[in-house]
């Protein structure tokens, strides 16, 4: 597939980029043959009401919109409503039911938005993209057909009844894709780091190494791109 391009729609004039930190982003878009659109004269300053209004242009320009996160009564939900009115397709990522950032997307799905779990879910909806889909679906199926995975899946089911099958599958896929360490010296620490943040204290307890030793190992792993520091601890980085 070709490289995509970016279109940005502003809620203000070109002379008042908001927020200021985004000037760099603005330039990057233009350098990469992107497009920046606004309905406001160059000297217009942004107002909060403008942003909601410009969302109708975003949805209008698109074939469809994918809502990744939307809280209850958020601007994103408004955009989705606008898109519906403009006869555009609305896609939404499902979230766990108690996830505050997923209230809007889950509601959209209930109201008839298309549930998305992978790129092919989107591509299938458009005639012009259908020919891209086949290989994608095959890729996905390969993962599921792996007998190893199925066995593991059953194992997991025994271990944890609470997980629904969807998250079990994603968990499994992710573990398969966890990078292989070049330097096995740090393997024991690396094994503990998964997709939910783990704190240095927990690692310390599990491995009975000293804090200074572990922070040294974690740093090396992070520098080599195996793990990442996030709020609350470390997570591993998966192979793409």
């Amino acid at each position: 597939m070709e490289k995509g391009r970016t279109i940005a729609v502003l809620g203000n004039g070109f002379n008042h980029i908001f927020p200021k930190e985004n000037i760099e982003l603005y330039n990057t878009i233009l350098e990469n043959d992107g497009l920046i659109v606004t309905e406001y004269p160059p000297d217009t300053k942004s107002k909060s009401s403008f942003f909601l209004k410009r969302n109708r242009i975003i949805s209008g320009l698109s074939l469809g919109i994918l809502v990744v996160e939307a809280a209850h009564r958020s601007g994103t939900s408004v955009t989705a409503k606008l898109a519906k009115g403009q006869d555009r397709k609305v896609f939404a990522l499902p979230h766990e039911i108690d996830d505050l950032h997923g209230v809007g997307t889950n509601r959209l799905i209930r109201e008839g938005a298309i549930l998305v779990t992978c790129t092919s879910d989107i591509l299938c909806e458009f005639d012009q993209f259908k020919n891209f889909v086949d290989s994608n679906i095959i890729n996905n199926l390969n993962t599921f057909n792996n007998s190893n995975t199925l066995d593991n899946l059953i194992d997991l089911k025994k271990k944890n009844h609470k997980l629904d099958s969807f998250s079990k599958v994603t968990l499994r896929i992710k573990e398969n894709q966890k990078k292989k360490l070049k330097n096995t010296k740090f393997q024991d620490v690396y094994n503990l780091v998964n997709d939910s943040p783990i704190s240095i204290n927990t690692i310390c307890k599990e491995t009975s190494k000293s804090i200074s030793e572990i922070s040294n190992i974690l740093f090396m792993l992070e520098l080599d791109g195996y793990i990442k520091k996030v709020a609350g601890g470390y997570i591993c980085i998966f192979d793409k």
């Binding site: 943040p197 240095i200 204290n201 200074s212 922070s215 040294n216 520091k229 601890g233």
Partner: protein, 514 residues
């Protein structure tokens, strides 16, 4: 007849000699005090008059003039009461001056009088005694409750008195007063601190970070959810700080003495101060001030810890005041009447939540803030202030089962041992540079003492490029790495010292990265 009695007045932490010259002569009965006295001294007229009357001595109806020399500096406070009374009594002949002539030259009188003749406690005795000793004074007559505090100073006789009658009898040679014995500094060093790291379950990473802070006197910021134990951990910090030496203890006591914070049982401050003002603190009470400038919290935390809990709740302009003192380690307060410099070599420790709701990055509870809210919250602390904090550490909340477990944690005594060793290494290394810890290293000294191997340099460059560290972190990392190496008793900074130091720059990476 004229009499001259000596006393000492304070300007900030420094004292100067004041001569109380009293002249009693025939004429219209009057009582005047000259020499720029403020209201509290003018009021002492009534206290002195009544106290003398109530001490079985007649207050003669004569013309009395009292001059406080040098007459050009403003004087305040009630500490001259006793010396004025003694001056009047000598001039009156109630105290026989003939056998005192020499003695009076080498004696100072300090104390406030009550109406019944009792002599009351005054503030700032320790700096007064130090100044007196420097001026060659041999004896100090002072309130009984101040005696212990004064007995810290060698080479000066401390005569505790409880009322004016006692003073008259003592000076007339009717009674003898036992001089207060000197206090031995070493024996008064008590190591009993109510908080101990052994009481804190888990949190090994924070303990390690605080150990490094204590060893190198690095400023430290604790970030964590509500109830994760930030305050508890910070309160334990003084228990691992290196022991005070006599000069440090004296300097702390001086500041506490003029602020009136000394207790009778503890004449000398022997534990490092831990000050934790509430976040509603005003600018003046933080850095010091007032008409006659008094030390603020930062000076009271001298050689100890200034802990600001919930840093983001403090008034922003109040926090910005810390920038100068954190760098200079002294604060100069200029007011109309006087300019005073107070030392404020403190360790700055602060705690804050990671976001407005407090649960960003927490496992217990979902954070309900969005990115811009978090950014706004963190931005309440300015870059320059953050720049002065060497160590950032995340405090995670402790699980309930860990709280219940009996697993023993390392106690403060063991940690302090390591801290002391590291501190001794630094004292030895910097003895020619007039600094005592790694945190005070200047860029020039960093070049000299924080040399990195080729491999370490490569890793550091790599870290800066890949982890989005800000440039301001560079020197901080080197200083902290130096301390970690000292804790490890290593002459050079090894790669693993450096990598651990980088881990203490959380905020440069996660929240502040743009």
């Amino acid at each position: 007849m004229l009499s001259i009695v000596k006393s000492i007045a304070l300007n900030g932490l420094n004292g100067y000699l004041v001569q109380i010259q009293v002249d009693v002569s025939a004429g219209m009965p009057s009582f005047e005090i000259v020499g720029l006295p403020d209201t509290s001294i003018k009021e002492s007229k009534e206290r002195v008059r009544t106290a003398i009357k109530n001490s079985n001595t007649e207050f003669l109806s004569r013309k009395i003039v009292v001059n406080l020399a040098p007459a050009s500096t403003k004087k305040e406070g009630s500490i001259f009461d006793l010396s004025i009374a003694v001056g009047i009594l000598i001039a009156n002949g109630d105290i026989c001056s003939s056998n005192l002539e020499n003695d009076l030259q080498e004696t100072i009188f300090v104390g406030e009088l009550a109406l019944d003749g009792n002599i009351e406690h005054v503030n700032g005795i320790l700096p007064i005694c130090i100044e007196a000793r420097n001026l060659g004074i041999k004896k100090i007559v002072l309130p009984k409750s101040n005696a212990k505090e004064a007995s810290v100073i060698e080479d000066i006789k401390v005569i505790p008195v409880s009322n004016l009658n006692e003073v008259i009898n003592y000076l007339n040679g009717v009674i003898k007063i036992q001089e207060t014995p000197k206090i031995n500094f070493i024996s008064s060093l008590n190591s009993n601190y109510p908080f101990d790291f052994a009481d804190v379950k888990g949190q090994e990473n924070v303990k390690r970070a605080l150990e490094i802070s204590a060893a190198g006197f690095h400023n430290c910021l604790l970030i964590g959810s509500p109830g994760s134990g930030k305050t508890m951990l910070a309160r334990c910090l003084p228990s691992i700080l290196p022991k005070l030496n006599f000069e440090e203890a004296l300097e702390i006591t001086k500041i506490h003495s003029i602020s009136g914070l000394l207790s009778n049982d503890e004449p000398l401050v022997c534990t490092r101060p831990f000050r934790s003002p509430h976040h509603t603190i005003t600018q003046t009470s933080l850095v010091g001030g007032g008409k006659n400038p008094k030390p603020g919290e930062i000076s009271l935390a001298h050689y100890g810890v200034l802990f600001l809990d919930e840093l983001t709740e403090f008034n922003k302009s109040t926090l910005e005041l810390l920038r100068g003192p954190l760098e200079d380690r002294v604060v100069t307060i200029s007011r109309l009447n006087s300019t005073v410099t107070y030392p404020c070599n403190f360790m700055f420790v602060a705690s804050m939540n990671p976001c407005p709701c407090g649960y960003f990055g927490s496992n217990d509870k979902e954070c309900s803030c969005n990115e811009s809210q978090i950014q706004k919250y963190i931005n309440k602390i300015s870059g320059p202030l953050l720049d002065r904090i060497d160590i950032h550490i995340e405090v995670e909340s402790v699980k309930y089962d860990k709280l219940e477990s009996n697993s023993s944690a390392e106690n403060s005594k063991t940690i302090r041992q390591r801290v002391n060793n590291a501190r001794n290494i630094q004292l030895e290394r910097y003895k020619n540079h007039n600094i005592f810890s790694n945190s005070q290293l200047t860029p020039k000294l960093i070049n000299e003492y924080c040399k990195l191997s080729f491999e370490s340099k490569k890793i550091l460059r790599n870290a800066f490029e890949n982890l989005g560290l800000s440039a301001r972190a560079y020197n901080r990392i080197l200083k902290v790495a130096r301390t970690i190496a000292d804790l490890d008793n290593s002459k050079d900074i090894k790669t693993y010292h450096l990598t651990e130091a980088i881990q203490y720059r959380t905020l440069d990476r996660k929240y502040w990265s743009r």
